[in-house]
């Protein structure tokens, strides 16, 4: 069965520092991996995805994520955090072998302090 784990409920970081939001996954076959962000009182917005190819994926708002097949991870990163990055972040996975569903993690709240 497919699953996604976001081990941290909350991540705190000072503005200007690098940030990492962790995600690990379990799927049969090759994964399709996604990151979404949810700002307060809004729906989810797509940030970036990994389907195939280069392991380092760049997305919106300066975010990037690295696909690591051996560690089954897809951590979200940004070199320099902004206060406006404070939001709820969701990792999600599907696969070519199970195209019916996108499985979401439980979310990680990112708090960036000025």
């Amino acid at each position: 069965a497919q699953s996604v784990a976001q081990p941290e409920d909350q991540v705190n970081v000072a503005e200007g520092n690098p940030l990492t939001v962790k995600c690990t996954y379990s799927v049969s076959g090759n994964p399709y991996l996604f990151w979404y962000v949810q700002y307060p009182n809004r729906g989810l917005q797509f940030l970036l995805k990994y389907i195939t190819g280069d392991n380092l994926v760049k997305g919106s708002y300066g975010f990037e994520a690295e696909f690591n097949k051996s560690q089954t991870s897809f951590h979200l990163k940004k070199p320099s955090a902004l206060v406006s990055d404070s939001a709820l972040y969701f990792c999600a996975v599907s696969s070519r072998h199970n195209t019916d569903k996108l499985i979401f993690g439980t979310g990680t709240r990112l708090q960036v302090f000025p």
Binding site: D9, F34, G43, L44, F46, K49, F90, T106
Partner: protein
């Protein structure tokens, strides 16, 4: 830009009432989805649809039904609302059945059942 709209941002209903949540997308997407979002549980898939008049159960379909009479519209129905259905409901759409395509979300409906 893809736009997914939901009929209400906030809704308060009484136990036993029949509740309709409407979702409309304007990008001719094949797929549409209904999720509920609860703190600590992430997003859970209720129902999805790949085509008009077609529906598939997600992970938590009990107590819900759906209707897709037109390609752009996907309705979630709570036949007899209960307090444990108090939640945030998110509608999403994506281009087609291949889940390599990202999902686009509406702003959500926060439903309170009293």
């Amino acid at each position: 830009d893809v736009k997914v709209t939901q009929s209400s941002r906030y809704l308060v209903k009484r136990t036993g009432e029949k509740v309709f949540l409407e979702c409309v997308q304007d990008m001719d997407h094949e797929n549409m989805f209904w999720y509920r979002q609860d703190p600590g549980l992430g997003l859970r898939l209720i129902y999805f649809s790949y085509d008009v008049k077609m529906k598939e159960k997600g992970d938590i379909p009990e107590g819900y039904s759906v209707s897709r009479e037109k390609k752009e519209r996907f309705s979630l129905i709570l036949e007899s609302a209960s307090t444990n259905q108090t939640s945030m409901y998110l509608c999403a759409s994506s281009r087609d059945r291949v889940l390599a395509y990202e999902q686009y979300f509406g702003p959500g409906t926060r439903l309170t059942v009293t």
